[in-house]
């Protein structure tokens, strides 16, 4: 492919985007206005050894730079390429900065995900904002604080004495005078590189971090004032719609757009196989689109009933397995061999994809809800053969993503229509388009062969076909392990999702471990604790077990207890579930679910609890009933009336326990807590009625099959 750049070229292009390299001292203040600022260069961070590097795989840019600016009027502006999609990092990152600067959160503004204003960032995903961006911003803010103190000492001609700071003021040690941060920034063009060794405030002394600061711009959302991209309007803006194939894999043969073009105010845009329309309102655009007569050439597509065979038969050749692994399995007295099936599921962000584009000469601006604004900028560079400097992508706080908005389709479509019509164009995808033309969480097939003795795991062979390698490492002590992820051909377009691979891997792993404990006649909780070598994981298991009351007697013979645990992306999680299976109807009901989660020092307890609750409940959908139905290219449940997601009535009696480890660095929470709900329920069903359900979703009809 001609667009494929070499690693070296990519690295160079990437370095050019780092502030402090391309940005001179003079241009910085011209751009930012006078004041005091601190910036951060990614290479320094790498040199500090905090992040591991690998020559072939240069560091992800989201591990990198950012800057903070203090204006003469005392306003603090923080620039980060991270984006807000509901995980509430706008609040938590503000807290981190406020803490170091002794300022209320209200005096700090975060500029996020604007490719012109913020430093390059590879994307907001992988639970990386809190472990990577928060420490950088903390240090940058601490650095700014030290610069301010130094300025105050100079102003007052004081030596290296310590000064008190409070609410944006610095106090003179003895004459009662005060200087505001803004006073110190007046007329200055002071730019300093962040000192990596700058002291930061210990988590045990946090006053703002560690507290439940409310969503910083919360009122705008409660009153409907916040403009998501789908709400935005520009002068002379048109509403765009794009012609889609009837099924996946269909190619356009011919199309007649005459009727559409004859509708007053409608402009038809054709560019190769792309056909779109733009009109003064979305109703007219939809009618114009519907009047296009198109012929399509369909090709045979893999259907859902062939899915798992296809994933295995199309998989890349695996590694050679150490014969010791197979031998240990053959010789074991207690062993299990089983497969797990995981269906495709959809993210269903409540705000479907939206893009708004405007051209001014050869400069392009695009507003779009994406987790990767810089990735969308690169997509646009390729689509229009335009240098990145001429493209600005904005990412206003967006109506959720869950890993489903890594791409820029709607923004690109809007840009094509805008270029052709010479007017700004907005493209809001319909729910059906979001289901059919975005991407799904991968389906997967997992084959497990596990054997155990009282001493632990004696053989473990684990093959994941298609759903990914994350979280594939068995946390239990044992020998003879073979764990492998096999890439396969995916019939449907797939991509990221909250803990996509870990959800599948932990489901298969925690189910099989539970079954092995059963074979050994061991208590599933005790068997796990005996065979784990991970204090943090053990701590959440114990916390959840106590709250759940693992040792209590079941009130009813048709009730079952189940548990699961997992260490994913810096988070440690355990979920315990009690379920009941109705003796006649076989309907399954969750009686209680307890989840304990630990991700280091907690920055915002309330928002963390929301993330954990959200993960568990969203996970419940994939665990019990969500799946994408598809047949020969047609996705047949591409509507919210046919694709069921969790609602109020699906919420069980649930409890979230947050384990706060102020002695450990904070990590992310948007993914890890999702992984245990499915295996915990699966194990509880087995406990209740002796039926092992090795597929996700487990109970699309809500009914537990006979054993």
């Amino acid at each position: 492919m001609k667009n494929e750049r070499t690693k070296q070229e990519e690295k160079r292009a990437f370095e050019n985007k780092i502030p402090g390299k391309g940005l001179s001292r003079r241009s910085f203040f011209k751009y930012m206005g006078a004041g005091i600022a601190t910036y951060f260069v990614w290479t320094d961070y790498l040199a500090s050894g905090i992040l591991t590097t690998n020559e072939d795989n240069f560091p992800a840019s989201d591990q990198l730079s950012s800057w903070i600016h203090l204006s003469a009027s005392g306003e603090i502006t923080v620039f980060t390429g991270k984006v807000e999609v509901g995980q509430n990092i706008r609040t938590s990152l503000t807290q981190v900065v406020a803490e170091e600067l002794f300022l209320p959160v209200s005096s700090i503004t975060l500029v996020m995900g604007d490719t012109q204003l913020t430093p390059y960032d590879r994307g907001t995903y992988g639970s990386l904002t809190t472990p990577q961006m928060a420490p950088i911003l903390r240090k940058a803010a601490a650095n700014l604080r030290e610069m301010l103190l130094q300025q105050a000492r100079q102003e007052w001609k004081l030596g290296e004495i310590s000064l008190d700071m409070e609410q944006g003021m610095i106090q003179h040690p003895n004459n009662g005078k005060k200087l505001s941060y803004g006073d110190l920034a007046k007329g200055k063009n002071l730019l300093q590189k962040m000192d990596e060794d700058v002291p930061t405030i210990e988590p045990s002394k946090w006053k703002i971090s560690g507290t439940s600061v409310p969503k910083v711009n919360g009122r705008d959302f409660i009153t409907g004032k916040h403009r998501y991209v789908s709400d935005m309007v520009l002068p002379d803006m048109l509403y765009g719609k794009v012609l889609r194939p009837p099924v996946q894999g269909a190619k356009l043969k011919r199309a007649n757009t005459d009727k559409a073009a004859s509708i007053p105010g409608v402009q038809v845009v054709r560019d190769g196989d792309f056909i779109g329309v733009a009109a003064k309102n979305s109703r007219t655009a939809a009618m114009a689109l519907a009047s296009i007569e198109a012929d399509w050439e369909r090709s045979s597509q893999v259907s859902r009933d062939q899915l798992f065979d296809h994933l295995v038969s199309s998989a890349e050749k695996g590694e050679t397995i150490n014969p010791q692994v197979s031998r240990a399995f053959e010789e074991a007295a207690h062993k299990i061999e089983q497969d797990f099936e995981v269906q495709y599921i959809a993210h269903v962000p409540l705000e479907p994809r939206a893009g708004l584009a405007q051209w001014t000469g050869d400069k392009l601006e695009v507003w779009t809800g994406t987790q990767r604004p810089f990735g969308v900028q690169e997509e646009l560079e390729r689509a229009f053969n335009l240098p990145g400097e001429q493209i600005r992508v904005y990412m206003p706080d967006t109506g959720s993503g869950y890993g489903g908005k890594h791409t820029g389709e709607a923004g690109i479509e809007a840009a094509i229509l805008s270029k052709a019509t010479g007017q700004p164009v907005k493209v809001n995808w319909t729910r059906e388009e979001e289901f059919k033309w975005a991407y799904f969480r991968p389906a997967g097939l997992i084959k497990v062969k596990g054997a155990a003795s009282e001493q632990g795991i004696t053989s473990w062979e684990f093959h994941n076909y298609n759903s990914g390698g994350a979280g594939i490492d068995l946390p239990y002590i044992g020998s003879n392990k073979h764990q492998e992820y096999h890439r396969s051909d995916t019939p449907l377009r797939q991509g990221s999702y909250r803990a996509l691979a870990s959800t599948a891997n932990v489901f298969a792993m925690e189910s099989t471990i539970n079954d092995l404990a059963g074979k050994l006649g061991a208590d599933p909780l005790q068997f796990r604790l005996n065979n784990l070598d991970n204090d943090r994981l053990e701590a959440v298991i114990k916390a959840a077990a106590v709250e759940f009351g693992w040792k209590r007697t079941k009130t009813n013979g048709n009730h079952g207890f189940g548990m699961a645990c997992g260490a994913v992306k810096g988070g440690f999680v355990a979920t315990f579930a009690e379920i009941a299976v109705h003796p006649e109807s076989r309907e399954m009901k969750i009686i209680k679910a307890v989840t304990a989660f630990e991700c280091g020092a907690i920055i915002n307890p309330r928002h963390l609890e929301s993330q954990v609750t959200g993960c568990v409940l969203q996970g419940l959908g994939g665990a019990l009933f969500e799946s994408v139905d598809f047949k020969n290219g047609d996705i047949s449940n591409a509507f919210l009336s046919s694709y069921r997601v969790p609602r109020f009535k699906d919420v069980p009696d649930m409890k979230v326990i947050l384990v706060n480890r102020k002695d450990l660095p904070s990590s992310g929470a948007g993914e890890a807590p999702i992984v245990c709900i499915a295996p915990a329920i699966r194990n509880a069903i087995d406990d209740a009625v002796g039926v092992k359900i090795n597929r996700l979703p487990m109970l699309p009809s809500g009914i537990v099959p006979e054993g």
């Binding site: 409907g224 004032k225 789908s230 309007v233 309102n281 409540l350 928002h607 568990v616 609602r647």
Partner: protein, 152 residues
């Protein structure tokens, strides 16, 4: 055609039979009302029509003629939030908040003229609204605060 939204009369165009949602968003620039599914399955587009929460995505604008429509923009009175907005904000309920306008208007109608609602009644009344971030437990507990305060 004229419609009344948030106690104001507007002249709107209804060529092509647009939905109330389209008219609110595109002609009146009241974008607090959201599109979520287009088939009344998610509640994001709910507005109050003569006090009843109604999915505006499947309601033809012409059907709203002569009725009083309240959108999220019309709840705040002289800078004062509606008690439902207030409690949801105080309890810091939402994540991405895209569902918030529809949730709030549904709750406003549910609570109207009711001194007390049980948790089960709140769940029943709100079940037509989807929050994909799954903030459901917090919505229920926040609404419980203002519906159960008078309990003996």
């Amino acid at each position: 055609m004229r419609i009344n939204v948030n106690d104001r009369d507007y002249a709107v165009e209804v060529d092509g039979n647009p939905s109330l949602l389209e008219v609110l968003r595109e002609q009146l620039d009241l974008t607090g009302t959201k599109y979520g599914c287009g088939e009344a399955a998610c509640g994001a587009c709910k507005v109050l029509i003569n006090g009843t929460p109604t999915p505006s995505c499947i309601t033809p604008a012409t059907a709203a003629q002569g009725k009083n429509i309240i959108t999220i923009e019309g709840l705040e009175k002289e800078g004062e939030l509606h008690p439902v907005q207030k409690v949801l904000m105080e309890e810091d309920v939402f994540q991405c908040s895209y569902c918030a306008p529809g949730m709030i208007l549904t709750a406003v109608a549910l609570l109207e003229n009711k001194q007390q609602l049980s948790e089960q009644e709140i769940i029943e009344g709100m079940n037509g609204n989807i929050c994909r971030c799954c903030t459901y437990p917090k919505i229920v507990s926040a609404l419980s605060k203002i519906t159960q305060k008078d309990k003996a």
